[in-house]
Symmetry: C2
Subunit: 219 residues, 2 copies
Amino acid sequence: MQDAAPPATVSRLITYLRAVADLHGAGTAITSSDSLAATTGISAYQIRKDLAYFGTFGTRGSGYDVPLVHERLREILGLTTVWRVGIIGMGRLGQAITDYPAFGEYGFSIAAMFDHDPDVIGQEIAGITVTDIRHMPETTASRGVEMVLVTVPAAAAQGVAELAVGAGIRAILNFAPVVLRVPAGVHVEPVDFLAGLKRLSYHLRGLPVLKTPGRTQTA
Amino acid sequence: MQDAAPPATVSRLITYLRAVADLHGAGTAITSSDSLAATTGISAYQIRKDLAYFGTFGTRGSGYDVPLVHERLREILGLTTVWRVGIIGMGRLGQAITDYPAFGEYGFSIAAMFDHDPDVIGQEIAGITVTDIRHMPETTASRGVEMVLVTVPAAAAQGVAELAVGAGIRAILNFAPVVLRVPAGVHVEPVDFLAGLKRLSYHLRGLPVLKTPGRTQTA
């Protein structure tokens, strides 16, 4: 038994899975750490180290067995089961997400939609009837929903997160631009596209980072 | 002169900025690495190291000067200027993004919207008239657009990215679930919410990662 892998490792595994899934889909049987490095931008050394950590995926010197790596990464990431997902907030963002085609391919199934707006409750979106958010506990229970996407405005996000946690949800994908406070044991993944814009800003700015010489602070 | 900071450092700076902006907004004058660690989930040691790298932000032992750290992080990240942003693809996702209130606060201004659908071209969304995607080069030039958000379906994303690069754009925030191939010098930041779901899947799965004993592979 080991502890869970650190977040950076999990992110790399997700990147490897995406690359290997493409190869698998294209019928490629064998790949190498150099080839994966070229596709993913992660160093071949890091790839060898990460994959060696999780098992033996081929014969030394002859490359990785693509179907084996693909299946094992899916297992490690828990993607061999179907996760039932609920969307809280069926405004434009919530609706836009239902258009996302890659959901099903990765084992995520939208099983419930919630809103508080009487005009939206009862509407059918992508084949699912929007439920009153007040009925979240019984709906998530009866439909086996284990993850929710929070797509409400920032001011409402903490409140709906608490409702979801009260309904037994332990995994939240948060699109609202606020930090959610949740009890220990509940996982929140933020989807912060402003962070992406800020990284672009940093790159476009094009200036080197200036270092002021000085001692390490102990503040 | 130094090289640009590595991506993980830039991500941490963005996290610090968010925490410090909240403190600044609340009128807090002084903070500590322990306090920032509690808010951000990054270790106090890492915070002290990162901030020391960029300068001296207070008096040893008495904490960080919040307005100073806030301003300096904004400078480092290039957020003291206003970036003009274009959105390519005014479907539900593109429209949902225009609802995002935090844009302006961080110095991003939506200056152009593009689509290829004759029914959408000419429509006014959030005060901006949607331009025919064929007029991207002259529109980005005349409006000073330097970043674009790609919110078209996956199959169209590479094509519009090439149009954007041809129009002189060097920074792309990509919402489509595909890897964009761009020339050197062009930065792409993916917004991949499936990655967030996969990380949640890994956590919910709750199983320890099994290690198969064996040598490091050299594939």
